[in-house]
């Protein structure tokens, strides 16, 4: 039960990070550099969230960190391709 509550809390934090990213991104429409910066910050926050979440859950592994990093990197590259 405690694990479930902790997970819900973690996912609420993640949802807040992502919602904040989307809101700021839309708010900055017309400013490409700022939008790319927001995309990068949100992706890095996601990687950080993944690492902290797994560390707290005590199932952190280098493989997991690389997975989050690669997904974050894919996101940054895709955003750059579309927005540049």
């Amino acid at each position: 039960m405690i694990v479930m509550k902790t997970h819900i809390f973690h996912y609420l934090i993640l949802a807040s990070i992502l919602f904040g990213g989307v809101f700021t991104f839309i708010f900055l429409a017309g400013n490409r550099n700022a939008q790319i910066a927001i995309g990068v910050i949100t992706s890095l926050s996601y990687v950080a969230w993944g690492i902290i979440h797994h560390a707290i859950d005590k199932d952190f592994h280098l493989k997991v960190m690389i997975e989050y990093t690669l997904i974050g990197l894919v996101a940054i590259i895709l955003l750059f391709i579309v927005i540049r």
């Binding site: 992502l18 429409a29 400013n31 997975e67 989050y68 590259i77 955003l79 391709i81 927005i83």
Partner: protein
């Protein structure tokens, strides 16, 4: 064939209970593949611009109509296209390419008003909006309307005239389509706009029926003195005014001035659409495989060391929204 499909897309003992397309080596491959995609599209765009490029259709008539539609929706008077302001906008655009800057103030310290005055427009109030790399006129006006400071310019009641220039060139090493929008009002227009005071002079009959003390308190007729909203800068532009046909040569520029006011280009493949379609299809693919992974792992109660599929789905969904809302242009 079925085995390969399962191996690639379904958590299974053969792929260590994680779809192969979600393995680290696959993710790394995506990073490399998209970097190559980016380089390849840039090369094709440069080498074969008629095949793959940014489709652009920006016309002054549309910019004017869209701007006036926004003003009229708010109950404001439409602005009129002014040739001198359009020349000022064209000068500003060509100056930005010549000196390679993207700003309201040039590296030499020239302000938008310098171009307006140089074009021979005597202003009382003036403003400037800039945009670059938009695909169409609507995108430009919508982006300006989404920004409070640019919207304030578009919706300013005191503006009477407007000028546009759509200029294509190379800015910071990148092919760029600039849109310069200049607003202005002449002192004469501002005077004409101001409401006339209604001052009733007491008639002889009024005075006859009025107590003496009140007669002396009646105000003398006054003439309204129009106070401009901003300080009027009196400038004699008769000597400085030049035509746009002369200006590029003065700057040492080589471009066709007849193409300054509309920009339409339609390559075989629009790079904006290609990029957006490819990235959205790819994210959709990753989302689909991750959903399948989540469902099967949950159903089979598989325990493994991997990232959280819920989190990946949330993140990829956000990315899909960002790409859907992304626009290629910038405003200033």
């Amino acid at each position: 064939m079925a085995h390969l499909f399962v191996h690639l897309f379904v958590p299974h003992p053969s792929n260590n209970h994680r779809a192969k397309v979600l393995h680290l080596d696959a993710l790394f491959l995506y990073v490399i593949a998209f970097l190559i995609f980016q380089i390849a599209t840039s090369w094709v765009r440069t080498s074969y611009p008629d095949v793959l490029g940014y489709a652009t259709d920006i016309r002054v008539s549309e910019l004017l109509n869209l701007t006036n539609a926004k003003r009229q929706e708010a109950g404001l008077e439409p602005v009129l296209l002014n040739e001198k302001l359009s020349q000022a906008a064209a000068m500003k655009g060509s100056d930005m390419f010549a000196l390679n800057y993207w700003a309201h103030t040039s590296p030499e310290g020239k302000l938008p008003w310098d171009f307006i005055v140089r074009a021979g427009y005597t202003y009382t109030v003036a403003g400037e909006n800039l945009a670059k790399n938009f695909n169409d006129s609507r995108g430009v006006v919508e982006a300006w309307m989404a920004s409070s400071s640019h919207r304030d310019n578009i919706m300013k009641p005191s503006y009477r005239d407007i000028g546009f220039a759509v200029v294509n060139g190379v800015l910071n090493g990148e092919e760029t389509t600039l849109v310069v929008e200049m607003f202005g009002t002449t002192p004469a227009q501002l005077v004409a706009k101001a409401p006339q005071p209604v001052v009733k002079e007491a008639s002889a009959q009024d005075r006859a029926t009025m107590p003496k003390s009140q007669i002396t308190a009646l105000p003398a007729p006054i003439t309204l003195k129009n106070e401009p909203e901003q300080r009027v800068i009196p400038v004699d532009v008769s000597q400085e005014a030049i035509t746009i046909q002369e200006y590029p040569q003065q700057l040492g520029l080589q471009f066709d001035t007849t193409k300054l006011f509309d920009f339409v280009r339609k390559p075989l493949l629009n790079l904006t659409s290609v990029n957006k379609s490819v990235t959205m299809i790819f994210i959709g693919f990753l989302l689909g495989v991750t959903f399948l992974d989540l469902w099967i792992v949950h159903k089979r109660k598989i325990v493994r060391v991997a990232g959280r599929s819920h989190a990946h789905i949330l993140f990829l969904s956000m990315l899909l929204i960002l790409i859907n809302y992304s626009a290629t242009g910038s405003i200033l």
